[in-house]
Symmetry: C2
Subunit: 222 residues, 2 copies
């Protein structure tokens, strides 16, 4: 994976590094609540079941934070990681498909905590359209492209059946949205400049059953 900014230095950051940064961010949030001012690489490593060397390597990648003997300043490091991860700001999120999974996601507090604010809901069910769902009025998916644009949506969460997901995502792309989190169990086609992540809970269980029936060597981090 490659990261580059216009005029800036190019650096490669692996998916597992981003994953660990997310974990550090969570550990630091907890440390902040517990009123810690500094934290050692050893303590951070212990909390996330990593080695202190791994922690130091990850954090050195983003500049020098730590002071030998004193450790890392908790609040400053947390802020720095938030900036790197792009969660030091509010992202305007729309959720499409207010079914079982969609409804749960609206209530999922972790999203808002990380700055992902669900501000629009869409569905195609006439009984849901216009109804109030946890403080938001469900919009008609028929006006998807226009409403996404008007609401300046930056991230879309797709929680619709697999059979209709591609049509909906085509609309989402036409509305200029550049980031999609897809829960439909299907491979979606999006242009090169659109970021797509797939979340498939049933498939995760299939990795487990595959591993069990084939006596597969365990693999921890995806």
């Amino acid at each position: 994976m490659q990261s580059s900014q216009a005029g800036g230095p190019k650096k490669r950051i692996s998916e597992s590094t981003i994953h660990r940064l997310s974990l550090y961010y969570r550990a630091l949030s907890l440390l902040e609540k517990e009123n810690y001012e500094t934290v050692s690489s050893k303590e951070l490593a212990k909390r996330e079941k990593l080695t202190p060397a791994q922690v130091r390597k990850d954090l050195s990648f983003f500049g020098s934070f730590g002071t030998r003997g004193l450790g890392y300043p908790v609040t400053e490091l947390k802020k720095r990681i938030a900036t790197i991860l792009g969660i030091d700001r509010v992202w305007r999120v729309a959720l499409i498909g207010v079914g079982n999974i969609g409804s749960a996601l609206v209530s999922y507090k972790e999203f808002a905590k990380q700055g992902f604010h669900i501000v629009k809901l869409f569905d195609n069910d006439q009984r849901k359209i216009g109804s109030n769902h946890k403080g938001m009025i469900v919009s008609d998916i028929a006006n998807l492209e226009q409403e996404l644009t008007e609401a300046r949506i930056e991230v879309v969460v797709v929680a619709v059946p697999a059979t209709v997901a591609q049509y909906i995502v085509d609309d989402v792309v036409r509305a200029g949205v550049k980031a999609i989190l897809n829960f439909a169990p299907i491979n979606l086609r999006v242009p090169e400049d659109v970021y797509l992540r797939n979340e498939n809970m049933a498939m995760e269980l299939e990795y487990l059953s595959f591993a069990m029936v084939n006596n597969h060597t365990p693999k921890r981090v995806k």
Copy 2:
């Protein structure tokens, strides 16, 4: 990743191959419903946005299915993939933590369709314990180890807060469960012979925000 069975041949199957097998399985289920008897590698590829060569390579890995000019027999291929993925049988699943995400997972039809039957629910909330949740009585997490053993649970889904997840998983491991799907945003420690998959929806959004703020090269399949 390595797969091996006692006395059997060793073969390596990558995580992305397992992912594609899951996709083929879904495509074949749909084709079966549409009354197709055979399907070409070209049609399967088109449905899953892959190349026909990729499809042929994946499927040849598991023996010779196809007939030149006729394609693959839909029902037979679907059954074969189900066996490889370990979803041609019923797995007894317990769900721990009947909060927002936990409740949604109980209603998530994809799980049962793939043979993952949630047969036990656990919570630590006295208002939930003993209550009927979608046809199941919520059990007290205090008796977790014993009840998991008695109910012959094979797979556990963890949907509890990060702060308590490790304690709960330690109990799950003591009960002899070998497969865990974890929704808590924390790295868990499990013995080598336990299969663990992490599902973290907030982190998936962080990959997207990281990609957007760093103008990251898109990466499609996780």
